[in-house]
Amino acid sequence: MYQYNEVDQKLVDERVEQYRDQTRRYLAGELPEDEFLALRLMNGLYVQRHAPMLRVAIPYGLMNSAQLRKLAHVARKYDRGYGHFTTRTNLQLNWPKLEEVPDILAELAEVQLHAIQTSGNCIRNTTTDHLAGVNVDEIEDPRPYCEIIRQWSTLHPEFAFLPRKFKIAVTGGPQDRAASQVHDIGLHIVRNEAGDVGFEVLVGGGLGRTPVIGKQIREFLPKEDLLSFLEAIIRVYNLNGRRDNKYKARIKILVQAMGIDKFRELVEAEWAEIRDSELKLPETEISRVQNFFKPFEYDSNAADDAVDTLLAENNDFRVWYERNTVAHKVSGYRVVVVSLKPYLKPAGDMTSEQMEAVADLAESYSFGEIRGTHNQNLVLADVKKSDLLAVWQVLADNNLARPNIGTLADMTVCPGGDFCALANAKTLSVADRINEKFEDLDYLYDLGDIKLNFSGCINACAHHHVGNIGLLGVDKKGEDWYQITLGGRDDEQAALGKVLGKAVSAEEVPNVLEKVLNVYVEHRNEGESFIDTFQRIGLATFKENVNATAH
């Protein structure tokens, strides 16, 4: 992974001291509240329902054991001993003290971590495929480009006060495991007819109040033009995006209002001015950054059948293997998904002890690296098959091996009304109800792959619009109600879910879900997934059946 040089280190160190001074001036009354708000947000600090919340950046979801141990330490020393992994693969601390945040940032800087631009109206943490570099379908590893974007966007002087936040996702091949079509900019590594590798560029996707699938602005962008094209898009947005209404300020609204063709015209005109400037990425810089992401020195003797006997002998291990591990491009290796969806615990939460256990596992068995996923799980990407049993045992001992990845119980859930000041409704207790209702793993396995995404408000942090099943908390006269959508997906065939019917109460959510699932089970063809069945039979069949059984 990328390692800081002197410049990188100096930047985060100086940034910490700058923020320390800003905090001091704020506490001394020299800095107005709303100005400090903008500054603290650009350092990841929100003020939430009970306490501040600090969002630490994990650039494109990649961290090493030392960093995860530091996060465990920070959570223990400055917080309540746990953290929360988000859909932007960042880590949130829910109970830090405002005046201690500079010290937290200083500790993080010791291991090349920071909270720069994890919030605020600026370019946020770039995300990518959690299987980058280890999946067979990839054209190229997207992470070097994420790092190049990270550097270019960090403290970008022109784009710190955009109309609204700005999110970029990069994928490395035809499969999309980064929800790139619902990002402000989605970059797909593609190969053109001449065999050159570059990017397909989408713009104007997003979720929140107005969910939109991104539109193609350029079919093929040469690699060397990556930064000039990004700069052109964001400059056009900065100058033309709406600033009168924060709900209409995202780039998706500008692209919709203007039309993609007109927007493209403006971007192309701006791009023509800067394409042949210092923004052009030299091959030397691309390969310098690529060198940090070279494939590991895999054991060429790693046996592909190393666990076959164990799988036959140990049913629990086999179930976990089938559900929570993924094929690796190198023979004899496997990708392990660490489930942060234990039974009746908040999705994405992790205690300091659990973080340390995973950090140790990574060091012993996965080249010392850990990745976050946009579904709030972690990944040990390079585990030798012969080590899987040992890894599974440690994960199981730490309540991190519930064999539920990809199932209904692998819900993506925001912290909701229990923590978040923006939320309209609680999410965690309702997620527990769902878990209790669908506790039986055999039933979950029979249902197969289903993505359930659950947001506590329309800001859609848990991406409910693109869940196969989406749950949205709404506030009706002070009570929590839940709107259900079906048919969303965030992969390469991205689609927005459609509303099933009227919002239902917290008690009713599991029952309505059961009816939805019954419709699926009744209508599915052999081996057909929930989303495929939905797309074949349509919303109407679900509506009819769910409403019919309600009376």
Binding site: L11, N121, W152, P157, E158, A160, N238
Partner: protein
Amino acid sequence: MPLLINRQPAANDSWTLVNEETLSSTGGDIIVPLALLEANADSLQDRKGRVAVQINGDDNIDALLENPNQYELIAIDFPVFRDGRGFSLARLLKRAGFEGQIRATGDVAHDRLTFMERCGFNAFEISEERYSDESLAVFTEVSVRYQGAADDPRPVYHR
């Protein structure tokens, strides 16, 4: 109002920002908002004293970009600090070859000065209550930068 020019407090600034009401009654060097300037182009020609222009994110500056050096000073207004269009406007002026002073006016303070300078501003009008001598130190708070900008177009790997 305190004014910094090239990172130093500036005394004896000759420029006065005018509005519709004060335009005719103000002598000496004046800074005129673009719309007002266009509406009074003829009468301003006969005026003694220099004329500069002030722009903001709502203005169409295409004509100005054709010939920015007709002015020795262009002010860019920040109606509220969250309005980041001024950063891009400064870069467009620099790219168009503007060589004069780019002055930030409006909601301008300490924590945005470095980004403004990097985008091409070299003068900052800061309200009395927001100004302190500490503001002078802000330019060196973060001494390294990854990306090129108006101050130095080279990204870190070309420096």
